[in-house]
């Protein structure tokens, strides 16, 4: 049986490719997510706006980037957009991160919008009735609550992005999947390199999901050890 006859030594021989791949995958994902998050917050707030000139461009952008495949976006950005602007390619890293930021922003925007809209409108009314302006009410009352609800979907988006970053391999990025491709091309063996790549992605997503659930717990309303202890004495006074 060929399957049982695994040769893990070939993975070990190419370990530097895989280690580099992990770094590239992480850099692509983290940069893509951070950029996408910042951009996405503005898009999401824009799509929540009542002002038409703000709402429509945001909606159009979100529909465009959610309605087309990331793979196609990567090709367009790498082969068409960036060469048109700069006259030449800026390498897979720039194209890859740009594509992931632009794509991720559209999904983050929807998470932000849904998070804000999920907060009962009585919260805004109560804040406004105390004399807070719209901005203060958002900052003090709506966003802190919405943010808690956004943590799980944002974690999902991060994991999705981590996996989808493997698509950047089509523009010759040397990420995890690229390492597997190199090994399979060299030895004409497919089980080991691709299983190794899958295992690495699995380990990364597992770690991320652990981190997300930690953050989730940390920000839950009940968890607040500082406040429970402090100033208890004043209650009895």
């Amino acid at each position: 049986m060929e399957i049982l006859d695994f040769r893990w030594d070939i993975i070990w021989n190419y370990r530097e490719y895989f280690i580099r791949g992990i770094w590239v995958t992480l850099i692509l994902t983290i940069c893509g997510f951070l950029g996408g998050f910042i951009f996405g917050v503005f898009l999401g707030l824009g799509k929540n706006s009542k002002r038409k000139w703000l709402y429509w461009p945001c909606k159009l952008y979100i529909d465009l980037f959610r309605g087309t495949p990331l793979l196609v976006q990567i090709f367009i950005i790498h082969l068409a957009v960036i060469p048109s602007i700069f006259g030449h390619s800026l390498g897979f890293m720039v194209s890859g991160i740009a594509a992931l930021i632009l794509n991720c922003a559209a999904y983050v925007a929807e998470i932000i919008r849904a998070g804000i809209q999920s907060i009962d409108k009585g919260q805004m009314e109560a804040a406004r009735s105390l004399g807070l302006n719209h901005f203060q009410a958002m900052r003090k009352v709506i966003l802190p609550q919405a943010f808690r609800r956004m943590i799980p979907p944002l974690g999902n988006e991060f994991i999705t992005l981590l996996k989808d970053s493997s698509l950047v391999t089509v523009i010759a990025a040397n990420d995890i999947l690229y390492a597997a491709k190199v090994v399979s091309g060299t030895y004409f063996r497919f089980w080991e390199p691709y299983l190794a790549a899958a295992a690495l992605y699995l380990i990364l997503t597992f770690i991320v999901s652990k981190i997300v659930s930690f953050i989730e717990k940390r920000f839950s309303v009940e968890y607040n050890p500082r406040k429970d202890k402090k100033d208890e004495g004043r209650v009895a006074a």
Partner: protein, 240 residues
């Protein structure tokens, strides 16, 4: 103190308020009663601009509040509002719920704001709940915190939008008692309510609204004892 002239409010083609004229004097408690959909909540919400009046004018201490040049946020700090659904901020402790606006808007320091909050919590009988979160409190307790939160801004008027309608029956009294105490202390109050006992006992004047207009108004003895209008009689015969 509050003067309302020819107040109209429509949502699209639906006319909810069809010309309300009324004047509320200082230290007066006015209860608004009437069937569902009569516009009584909308009337109340117009007074602190949660709804924008379609037509007419509202004056508080001589200042026209539904004027584009009026600072809405400033007006609202002077008009306290208590909601049917309490609307406490769930991510803040009771204490933070009460101190947030005084610190942010009145620029009170933390210590003064907390002293004020404890004083108000004492008043509504919930001092020991200061460090709890709203969801750890019963409905009646939450509503009393909501009253304390509104009072912390030292408003000139308190508006109550069916404050006991979302409460279990055994919790209604504790909230009404706090409101009675406020009335005794001379707070100007407008209360939309289905608690006829409260209206009869505490109100200086009662407004009966139906179909977006004030059908009848007067002292509670008159409205409950000797209503003049047929619609008032019909409504009271159902609820009393």
């Amino acid at each position: 103190m509050i003067k309302i002239e020819n107040l109209h409010k429509s949502f699209g083609s639906l006319d909810v308020l069809k010309g309300i004229d009324y004047e509320i004097r200082e230290k007066e408690v006015v209860c608004v009663i009437g069937p569902s959909g009569s516009g009584k909540s909308t009337f109340l919400r117009c007074i602190n601009l949660l709804e924008e009046a379609t037509d007419g004018a509202i004056y508080i201490d001589g200042v026209k509040i539904n004027d584009p040049n009026t600072d809405i946020n400033k007006i609202r700090t002077e008009v306290g509002m208590v909601f049917q659904q309490f609307n406490l901020f769930p991510h803040m402790t009771v204490l933070e719920n009460i101190t947030m606006a005084p610190k942010l808007i009145r620029k009170m320091n933390k210590k003064d704001a907390e002293n004020l909050a404890f004083e108000l919590l004492q008043k509504v009988g919930l001092r020991e709940k200061a460090y709890n979160y709203p969801q750890q409190l019963s409905g009646g307790q939450q509503q009393r915190v909501a009253i304390a939160r509104a009072l912390a801004m030292k408003p000139k008027v308190m508006l109550f939008d069916e404050p006991t309608s979302a409460l279990d029956p055994e919790m209604v009294t504790e909230v009404l008692d706090v409101m009675k105490q406020l009335a005794v202390e001379g707070m100007t109050m407008v209360v939309v309510t289905h608690e006829m006992g409260f209206a009869r006992e505490v109100a200086d004047r009662v407004i009966f609204m139906d179909g977006g207009v004030i059908v009848e108004e007067g002292p509670p003895e008159q409205i409950f004892g000797n209503p003049k209008h047929e619609r008032t009689k019909a409504f009271l015969s159902k609820v009393l």
